[in-house]
Symmetry: C2
Subunit: 522 residues, 2 copies
Amino acid sequence: MCVNGAEALLRTLADGGVEVLFTNPGTTELHLVGALESVPELRGVLALFEGVVTGAADGYARIAGKPAATLLHLGPGFAYGLTNLHNSRRANSPVVNIIGDHATFHTAFDPPLNSDIAALGGWLRGPVRRPEDPAGAGPDGAATLAAALEPPGQIATVIMPADVSWSDAAAVVGAPAQPRSAPAVPAQVSTQIADVLRGGEATALLIGGTALCETGLLAAGRIAAATGARVFQELYSNRVEHGAGLPSFPRLGFYPDQVLKQLHGVRHLVVAGTKAPVSFFAYSNQPSLLVPEGAQTHILAEVGQDAVAALDRLADLVAPDTSAPVTEPHRPALPSGPLTLQNWADVVAALLPERAIVIDESVSSGTTLATATAGSARHDVLMQTGGAMGDGLPLAVGAAVAAPDRPVLALVADGCAMYTLTALWTQVREQLNVTNVILNNRSYAILRQEWKYFSNRPSSVDPGGNPLFDLANPQIDFVGLASAFGMPASRATTAEQLAEQLTQALHQPGPHLIDAVIPAAA
Amino acid sequence: MCVNGAEALLRTLADGGVEVLFTNPGTTELHLVGALESVPELRGVLALFEGVVTGAADGYARIAGKPAATLLHLGPGFAYGLTNLHNSRRANSPVVNIIGDHATFHTAFDPPLNSDIAALGGWLRGPVRRPEDPAGAGPDGAATLAAALEPPGQIATVIMPADVSWSDAAAVVGAPAQPRSAPAVPAQVSTQIADVLRGGEATALLIGGTALCETGLLAAGRIAAATGARVFQELYSNRVEHGAGLPSFPRLGFYPDQVLKQLHGVRHLVVAGTKAPVSFFAYSNQPSLLVPEGAQTHILAEVGQDAVAALDRLADLVAPDTSAPVTEPHRPALPSGPLTLQNWADVVAALLPERAIVIDESVSSGTTLATATAGSARHDVLMQTGGAMGDGLPLAVGAAVAAPDRPVLALVADGCAMYTLTALWTQVREQLNVTNVILNNRSYAILRQEWKYFSNRPSSVDPGGNPLFDLANPQIDFVGLASAFGMPASRATTAEQLAEQLTQALHQPGPHLIDAVIPAAA
């Protein structure tokens, strides 16, 4: 079979397990779009903005447990998509970016869209390849996919010059990548840490990343029950199993003093699947590293190592006969009255369906969510991992593409929704089962909160009155926005309305949007 | 006066002539937001997405003729804004980016939002500075501004660590930048090219960049009238004066064969203010450099040199007693019937008010605009210079901020509008006098056109039916989108409706949107 470079690349990726290509293509990608018709195993999903393309790829990878792929238009298209790839990088999602470039003979003339594409790939700290002839398209595709799958997962990029895409590649198709499993933690690490736990000094166990699945959570619960160690969950995670039948652990706080209070008195901090806690932002009167003074940090499993197996082994050592206490099924009663920071989360917790995927980009509105949903039906939670706003609506696209049989509930703050609004268009186009709840406080409330938290802020500034924190002038009609994309939408200002609208949205197929108007914390 | 680093930076920029700070700030920029209150000469304009921030800065710089500034949130905020900065770079707009970063002591801990910000600044091919202490904030700000203003103008970036912003800078304020004028072209260049023009061989004059102002256009018109040289205008320009009382020259075409046909028979190509023509994209059967075989290229003025003075001097040499033929005022009659690719431009040409600023991101719908408006009231046209979609609505924001007394007419293709839709929010917030006309063909029509143009496209693909070129599933209700941001909006499907709605929008203060439904070319 004789194929062109474009088809050689796509065929290689499909053979390697890539099933979906999220894209917003342009002229330099036309032969790749054409090649899609010859590789029907690869489904093209269109978005109107590259931040949606990349955020959807991230959501897909997190839920499917498979590599995701994007197809983007030269440097400027890649640039639009970088921010959510930053979130992906922090989520350790395996993502292959295919960037169409000018033909090899054309770049020397520096046409308007020309730029240093490799520099953008490098910003994501992943490898970048660029086949210089069509025979290299398949092998470079295979190598890029293999790099993306390297534990814990990374963002790998292949730049496809247009003439490499359109020229004959003979029968060259790259060898499919072999998925690699996460390397095991040496047994003696668990043994040493078991000794620490047996020593009886105050110990905390911080778990994150891949450890936040059922097996990891249960192992952590056993360790805690047997040794008295307190368990904490990292603040922002790529995927967390949550709900009835699982142990529920507190998340570390956002602010340094909150974390230091949580870890007060701890002499040993055991870390699995994440890093020792670091403040999200810096403050002049607070430390960056949030390990209590005098406490010793023990790494049970680095990011990228098999944290679940390490936790399991540790549990077998220190808690051979202990089972983990788990949260009994319980749901809050449906609340009533005007929406508040607490009661909206109770409505969600009361109504969350089985096997839901919850996208949590709730920012300052979401502080009570994890506790409220601890006894709800079992679900997965995907969070904003890189701190960059705008991945909530796209994550929902990708999650719903990955799991069409599961309900997706996207909880997205109003400010966040405005970065990647056209994700709603793709949700309608693909008729995805997503219920978008906009947590609408009509402000950048997190900035008002941050302002108050700084000890050295200029005293002249009134955070409530600063116009740069204010999204109420003009007010944004989210019902109107969703309707303009053909999505059924409604507004809720009371808990009763939210409950009614959420029930309806979750039971009807296809996407919905609820504009939940919730005052920010005073 | 004792100020912190943030105020030292902003004070320095204000002293150097920066008047507006386009921003979407976050926590690492809070002290810069605070400092804004102490530097009232600097006006903060909020946008909800960084692509709007940077596109607005570009539009401001192009119209104000002053340096523009942005304030962006770490690497991920900068990344969202990169694409329109790419357009700015190609427009040679002087832009200073202020990127808030983590405190100097915090980055080593690699918190979630940490990234290599300097790499992003480098992608824009401009200098990047990063003061490491507050005493450096003013001087680094001054140096960054000076770099931005270096002819022809560039994108310069200053990274402000949070502790540099919040710490005491004593009274250190940087020396204000001295705007530099474009370097003159040596006199002998004009003399040599005058000899070429006098030689009588077929000559074409290609003008672009700063040459596309009244003085440059008139000089080119004199040269053409006296020597018989044909004059062409580059395809995409940062700012063009156009309309009655000016010479009107054809723009070079988009496709290689169009350009080679335009330049057929030319023996000498004289270039001023731009580069020798290069194809926008590459095609397997077409050259990249579009200078006819056997023709000699003569550079009258490089990009960044004073092209206007060079043209004027050349005109004085070869056309001392010739005046330029100019277009007489004339307007098309108001057309009637369903909107077409021709008649929408005639409606605009017939109704264009005096001193309008026209933003042209019309892509495939706009091929007849320049000809239609040649006899309209004098206006400026800003185009997409870097080929990256999504700068039309933001350019309109910046242009209207720069010239509140002038009507701004943004002509934006539907696909382009979806990248930076929230520019409409800022237009409403600032009550800018912008009339947005969405040229809505419900497709990526340019891709269908490109598909047909390729000689080596896969024959199996039907461009009309390929779902990745289609924006009609679902259809986008632009009237609903604008209304959701509080903007008066209407839909036009006939020339009469467009004329009526355009008249009304141009005569009412504040922003408006017209959804002009125009079928794509067959």
